[in-house]
Subunit: 340 residues, 3 copies
């Protein structure tokens, strides 16, 4: 498994990165994240260059991270700035530092060539910081026991809501409505309109709909591992996503899938909604109910990965709804090949 390297991945929520070092493996690299007293986040290789202790077992001393074994100190650039007991620093003493960017509530990490790290390439998830939208974070990242590619397949094929989430955001007939696949330079889209149908249970409770609704799903997966889903519903014939705010349930679901290893993933997500902006109970519903819903996916994905790992070369068939996911995988493979 090769990853696309010259890009940003979500490393942590901003409030996970504090004066207490945080260990997290990202793209198979052990990384320690911390925030210096001046408020800046830093990410270093989580292995002291001296005797390999994880630096995350050390502590912040001033603006430096001090190793918990022999006290070597490293600045936010990974430079070794002190070795106890001696006045000189051995040549080459230091650990890799990773560029970071903070945006929309996440700390993003650049895992490739540091000179190419351009903060403008962080995904523009402006709904998280806009007065017309109410953001709700999904909490601590899920540790998914599956490849981020399986997770992305999941988010690009929302027919699965009928089977995995039948009790919450699924209705039995979702798959009966066709999808449209779109492609851009670095993204793939999947669109579906479920017209004049019963509301899924969760949306029905949120919107108080009496009758049938028009429901839309517009998923966009962008290289390397970002996904947004614009979803919602409005009374049948009321205009769908263009219906007045007070008549519809509408939100963007923002997903950052960060490979921990080839077969495990840190899954960060948030929701930003356009309705009931001041409603704390609605905040709680998004926080709690979607955690449960996405937890269903996490279970499915782990079982799927385990079964794939048991018989790596097993043949499989594709069906219509796989189009966007397959297109994304091809696009990603080409980009990884080009980078290598």
């Amino acid at each position: 498994m090769t990853f696309l390297k010259n890009c940003w991945y979500a490393a942590a929520w901003d409030d996970e990165v504090t004066g207490t070092p945080l260990a997290r493996t990202i793209l198979d690299e052990p990384v320690v994240l911390f925030r210096t007293p001046d408020g800046r986040a830093a990410a270093l290789e989580d292995r002291c260059c001296h005797r390999s202790l994880p630096l995350s077992m050390g502590r912040l001393v001033g603006e430096t991270l001090r190793c918990g074994y022999h006290g070597l100190r490293f600045d936010a650039h990974g430079r070794c700035v002190q070795v106890p007991g001696q006045s000189t620093i051995p040549p080459g003493a230091g650990v890799r530092a990773f560029p970071l960017a903070e945006r929309h509530g996440w700390v993003w990490i650049w895992t490739g060539d540091a000179e190419a790290a351009d903060p403008a390439l962080v995904p523009d998830w402006w709904w998280m910081d806009h007065p017309g939208w109410r953001p709700v974070r999904g909490g601590a990242p899920f540790h998914v026991e599956a490849s981020y590619l399986l997770l992305n397949d999941n988010l690009l094929d929302l027919s699965h809501v009928a089977y995995v989430h039948a009790g919450s955001i699924g209705t039995g007939n979702v798959a009966d409505f066709p999808i449209e696949t779109g492609r851009g330079e670095d993204f793939v889209t999947m669109s579906r309109l479920v017209a004049d149908s019963p509301a899924p249970p969760l949306y029905g409770e949120m919107g108080g709909f009496d009758g049938n609704v028009d429901r839309w799903q517009v998923a966009v997966s962008t290289l390397p591992a970002y996904n947004t889903v614009h979803a919602g519903c409005a009374p049948a014939g009321a205009g769908g996503a263009d219906a007045p705010t007070e008549r519809k349930v509408e939100f963007f679901n923002l997903n950052a899938m960060t490979p921990e290893t080839a077969t495990t993933t840190h899954y960060f997500y948030a929701h930003a909604r356009s309705f009931a902006l001041e409603d704390k109970a609605m905040d709680a519903r998004f926080r709690v109910d979607f955690r449960r819903v996405f937890g269903e996916d996490v279970s499915i994905l782990a079982a799927q990965q385990a079964n794939i790992d048991r018989r790596p070369g097993a043949s499989s068939i594709d069906i219509n709804v796989d189009g966007p996911g397959l297109a994304f995988r091809r696009m990603l493979a080409q980009r990884i090949e080009a980078e290598a």
Copy 2:
């Protein structure tokens, strides 16, 4: 490790196979077992041909098993009969189905060439269904952390009762009595008579014997992995197995050893006794006491397998009581070679 394929293995107790899918690995294959509303048991490869989710995470819908991820439906023959969202079934869509047979309380699975699956080859354990015998099932199969071959060795060499089961079915002098080994086309027998000796504690309690007993052990192991033990005792000189029913403790212990992997085994067993047929307390004694006794073997076998795995090529010696087990292994190896 190659297994003998063209034969029946016990897959489950009949009451384990219901409308709720049951996942079980058999001969390294993931299998899902279920029973359709018409009462027939079915066994399919436990991996959807689409995206590899275990079908055991799905649910029965009518006579079909529906995948829990994207809703593909499979009939009891493994044919994909519906793909949500499209009117055609992709060519090749389907999963392997395994022939099953139900007999004597077990569901038997055929892991080789389906056309060769002949229900007449299921072992004839008629004691389980005969009015002159009282059957007691051994409960949920033991998950043995050892090869089925080690378990079969165990069941063909009953001298171990003196050491492993000293407090229940063993007495110290069992090994002092010689064994006879017999061979058939597809089976090996071990016979021993322990004459005029104290009764083992458990049999003593069951039979209320005052003095010494004659005890017999007749074990038969049949390819690929079936074993019966005809065992019991009667007062010394009373005729042994031919003693009148009311004077003896007599039962058949029926053992089905199904490889899960090369080094783990599903161990099913039952007992059918010829005495105290209506005695519920005796049922409980067979259910509870033998569970404990056989659990002692399970512990021994796991430790033995672990030690073998630590030093795979370590040399070993054979002793007299190994004769039947070695004969069985040779017979099985020849049959496996012939099949391959």
Copy 3:
């Protein structure tokens, strides 16, 4: 990883070796330790030569260890002396026996050529048995999830007390004082004097010092895996280790590091002090407080080993305090090469 074989390793505390067999893996070998009724300790390969059951699952019968599966009996020399059910012992029946020596509270095992096993080579830790010193054993050996070489590095570089043990035996300025490295034929020494400095918290409590102290650390690591630390402190200017007994805290910490595998270690330690010989509360302090202190090392070492295992070839730098540890590793590597 090759180990030095022709030498003694600590196998157990003497009171761990009883009539109940004790299983312990030593240098990758499964070993069973037991004590026969005549009081002599014995160590055998923990695998029956018949069917590989760990002999530690058996029991002592007279002066023999009887296998828990088929009852084969082995004497303390590993000879098979009985096979139930037959009058002859198969040629070659037996298991390896390891020479043992008991000294200073430990049972020492010789893992190489038995004929070379010379009890005079057991380390002479006479403080454990001398009326002028009060010994306190460290309790059950720590199971360290790291190579014994990492543990030895730890014990030869006591600058780490400033970071790993800041709350007990460390003070921040230890590393500011230089070390001296010494070499013998089969040992390396590290010496440091921390002059006129605050007492570390634990020593301060033990000695009731009012002002600054002179503190000494003299560590000696001897092939293959023994280490002693002569440590203590006395009021500044009072003579250090030569101060009168009633004015100083002084002890020898004795460490035996026995490889379980290449990356795990049985860590035995004890302390013998020259002060407060009759003080039971001081005994408890040594028993409890040092257990906590050394447990901090155990955590560090496990994290260090895990990080090394993640990236086996990662480069590292050396610093001044590594001198003794590096010298020891070179000495050991040469000896291992010579032995091979």
